[in-house]
Symmetry: C2
Subunit: 595 residues, 2 copies
């Protein structure tokens, strides 16, 4: 079984030293989000995740969820329901929700390390409360007052959980094709009918009620994605005073058998004239759904990060422990029968890749989360707008890169174990299987890439990109940067220039041929992610040097940054070349000629 | 469930058009290996694999193998045993074995497409007969006459299967640490005692007997890997006339629970004074074992290839079928509700990556297999030596690259399915799980990399490398290359020069610090693999142009080669940069400072 210890020291380093969250929280008026309080929250979160959730990870994988076809009820793996009760008792469900709906009103960015811990400790379990946050966001921003009153509080206090019901058998990415329909009943209620698939936490035994947020079409809906509306469909009907009534006409028809996250209930949900309520304007459901989706995309990015970290922790421990061969430069532990494999450069290559992607990714992910707070709570409107643009730009990068790196890190970590990594009892293969979903759900990597290049860069005149470039430029021009950080300025400047030129060239080609956007998107996204990560590594070194942390931490940041710049950042060369290869290299072959 | 159709057209193209196997077989005196005979063998092999093995792939994954702890007997998944009987009846087990031991005496390279089909059709099943070939090789080259007489024939005709028993709980890569011991009984027999793990096909119900080839130490063994001897330990004792006697003292103690290849029996074998016979010289077991291992390494490379191809076939069919979104340049199928996803450049990027790695990898893998034949049967001694050197050089590249690409291709193919790829019923996730073992067993990618750079390039003065460089150079200087192939000459020459300079620089650095070898090895191996593949793509284009194949095939080869050179070959930039980063970027961080 794999172990997990919350990386509190590096979480604090990212949050406080690198992105300066404490000052930002104060500036936004989060009076309770002081360093002391946040430290206590982190400690308590670590305890809960290490002792309650982490030990249930293997059980969840082994036992999975079970559906009783006769009743449509789902039983979660042993211990999952009890852990959820502890989660609710601990007040975790409403940590970052507004106080007026029963939340604790902490900043979003303060909740993110907790989210990372949950994902690392037990990703499958974490998917049950996950979508409550998205549903909360949707109702906060688009719900009517009575909907907020009736539906929001139980989500915030964890009495209920939420879902996002988008996908249907014939459409996932292309929601314009969806067939679920909503018939007005004339009294403000709607009858929802259709089949939704891949519904995470669509049915379970954690809570008495589940709030489904469902995309469906009204009878007069225009064709395509401009004709989609959003509805609340509770599993149990809810009276005006909030008491639960009878079962609504929505039922789990089956559970998917998946590669991983066996402990998560991935449901087919059949709506058979279920009672629902419109959220927001008719036909404007996608807008509201994107509110949920953007939250969920950042959250899935953190899933990649959490899994990477757990995989890395275990590979590191194994590499220090496992004795095999001697170092090529001579025995390092002559008293042992062989050297621990961490002496071998190739094992170090794999470990350092994980360390660089995890710690750099943590700073990047937490910074994006801070933009969520700034977009809503920054004192000045201009700053709020900027944060929103930067967030829009970074969301696809965080989602796609952290999940692709999750697949990569779980690969490297398993590889460090040799053949033992393939055996279930070590727990590494579960992490690899669990990680594999993260590049698929909430928009595949390809979809994130199109969102970044097509929408955020080309359609929005690169507002977010300019802000990111500005951040990097400002860093490069920081006066009196400590020498170890200064060493990264020149390579960072070079990448900055290259990034701008690449973007210009894509824009020019795309004006002539729209397929150029799709042809460049994936490599552009990964390229951008690696340049952003280079920035976060340079900033991490600067932050470490400026801090009062021990020299060991400073050295570790320096050496990992050096490793990153010399051995990982060159991936940008490959992505730049692929981008410049253009669309013709992808589009020339006839679809019939691929065999 | 995923489908599989043997890619006969491309197999023939690789074998006959690209590597010119027919002429080579004739030159080596394989009178029966004519084009007609080989075509018939391929057709019959396709039928067997498509109709018998492929449909059992999902069953094997679902049901796995079962161990009866009371008897130590293993039951294989439903249908596996019957399929093996058909395999034996069809004469497949002895296809490439010498006629004097009951084989059909076909060249090794002629058996390789069959091997690829088996791996693609049902990798887990393929692991049962797989190691019979290795055991056959070891006995052919190192066994005494009576051992060949008694043990070889039943292996060749498929009545028995073989195993390779190397790994122990505390040692896999580092065989010098092994503890299994062999006590001489004074009559030419030995009593073998110890525990071996990860023994593929260590116990099963296919055959009446299993021949274990076991590494163990004699009482007077020198320490380390120079004190290892190889023994034959049959599961059932064998009388002089070949009849089976009583059960030997070797028993399956447990089956591993693995990420994939559930249908393969991966056994813990306990030897408790089991009767065994020495193969080859005392303390020289590693030499004999390497005979098996090299065969097995090429074979595992083909596993990566086979899985890649099956994954690609399914992703291609899905991408032509699945309707989602419109092409960015406007609807391509306006009569359908959406365009098939193969119109999208990013889907094409994933498909073309698979196609380029599969078809190029096939030519590369088959060519390496041809060197096995040439090393033994080429008319001139010099040619045999050259083939042996080239084979030694290519073996780690074929093993590591084809398996890493197997992981990559199953990743891309699954990704083409979106969320559906994560669901077991589509079969894509099984391919990804099965592929994951191939970069681990028979020497991890890291071990292949050290074998390539440390042994084959630096220790052996690059004999194999020079031959490979010579092949590429000769191609570049071919007079009257058809224009489409000529277009690849300049980039190929550039890579050739870069490869030589990189190698020189590594050699210089390694002279000063042996850790430089380990620090460069992985990236050097991948770099070499991508340059070799560029050569095979250029040669494939030349071969296609020179052939009488239809224009559609020529165009497909041209466009895929163009894609490869422009979008995949640039990965060499990243690997070259990582190599030049040197050992310091890996070794600087103290082992205690990785947390």
């Amino acid at each position: 079984m794999s172990h997990y210890k919350a990386p509190l020291a590096d979480m604090r380093f990212a949050l406080f030293d690198v992105i300066g969250a404490e000052a930002a929280f104060e500036r936004m008026g989060f009076a309770d989000a002081t360093r002391d309080v946040l430290d206590a929250v982190l400690e308590e979160g670590a305890r809960f995740n290490e002792t309650v959730l982490a030990p249930l990870n293997a059980v969840g994988d082994r036992e999975g969820c079970r559906l009783d076809l006769a009743t449509g009820e789902v039983t979660t793996p042993p211990g999952f329901k009890q852990a959820y009760a502890q989660y609710v008792d601990g007040g975790w469900s409403g940590l970052t929700a507004p106080a007026e709906f029963g939340g604790q009103g902490m900043p979003h960015a303060a909740g993110v390390p907790l989210k990372e811990m949950i994902d690392a400790a037990n990703l499958a379990w974490g998917n049950f409360p996950l979508l409550s946050h998205g549903a909360t966001e949707a109702l906060l921003h688009h719900g009517e007052a009575w909907q907020q009153e009736r539906f929001l509080k139980p989500l915030v206090d964890g009495r209920w959980t939420g879902t996002m019901c988008l996908t249907e058998p014939h459409c996932g990415t292309d929601l314009g094709l969806l067939r679920t329909r909503a018939e007005p009943l004339g009294d403000g209620r709607y009858a929802i009918t259709g089949t939704k698939i891949f519904i995470t936490a669509g049915e379970h035994d954690f809570t008495d009620n589940i709030l489904h947020l469902v995309l469906a079409k009204l009878p007069d809906a225009p064709a395509g994605s401009r004709g989609i509306s959003l509805f609340i469909v509770p599993k149990m009907r809810v009276d005006e005073d909030g008491t639960l009534g009878e079962r609504n006409a929505v039922r789990c028809g089956s559970l998917e058998h998946k590669m991983g996250i066996h402990g998560s209930a991935t449901c087919v949900l059949n709506f058979d004239g279920a009672e629902g309520f419109l959220v927001g304007q008719p036909h404007k459901g996608l807008v509201a759904m994107f509110t949920m989706m953007n939250t969920a995309r950042l959250a899935v990015g953190l899933q990649g990060l959490g899994l990477s970290d757990r995989a890395y922790q275990n590979a590191l421990a194994y590499s220090r422990d496992r004795l095999q061969m001697r170092a090529l430069s001579g025995p390092k532990f002559p008293d042992k029968p062989a050297d621990p494999i961490i002496v071998h450069p190739d094992v170090r290559r794999m470990l350092l890749t994980c360390k660089a992607l995890v710690e750099g990714g943590r700073a990047m992910g937490y910074h994006a989360a801070l933009q969520v707070d700034l977009a809503h709570h920054a004192p000045e409107a201009a700053e709020r707008e900027q944060a929103d643009a930067l967030l829009g730009f970074m969301t696809p990068i965080v989602k796609a890169c952290l999940t692709e790196w999750g697949v990569e890190c779980t690969y490297h970590a398993l590889q460090c174990y040799g053949g033992h990594g393939y055996i279930a009892e070590h727990g590494m293969e579960q992490l690899a299987r669990d990680a594999r979903i993260t590049t698929l759900y909430e928009g595949t990597t390809g979809i994130q890439a199109l969102d970044l290049l097509g929408r955020k860069v080309l359609q929005q005149q690169g507002a977010g990109l300019k802000l990111m470039l500005g951040l990097i430029e400002a860093f490069c021009e920081t006066p009196d940067l400590p020498a170890p950080a200064q060493a990264f300025v020149a390579p960072l400047r070079a990448k900055l220039a290259e990034w701008q030129q690449l973007t210009l060239r894509i824009g020019q080609r795309a004006a002539a041929d729209p397929e150029e956007v799709g042809a460049a998107a994936h490599d552009y996204l990964m390229y951008s992610g690696y340049v952003c990560l280079a920035y976060w590594w340079a900033r991490s070194v600067a932050a470490a040097e400026a801090s009062s942390h021990p020299e060991a931490l400073k050295a570790a940041k320096r050496e990992t940054a050096r490793f990153y710049f010399r051995r990982v950042l060159p991936r940008t060369l490959m992505h730049a070349a692929a981008i410049d290869a253009g669309a013709a290299t992808l589009m020339a072959l006839d679809a019939d000629a691929f065999d």
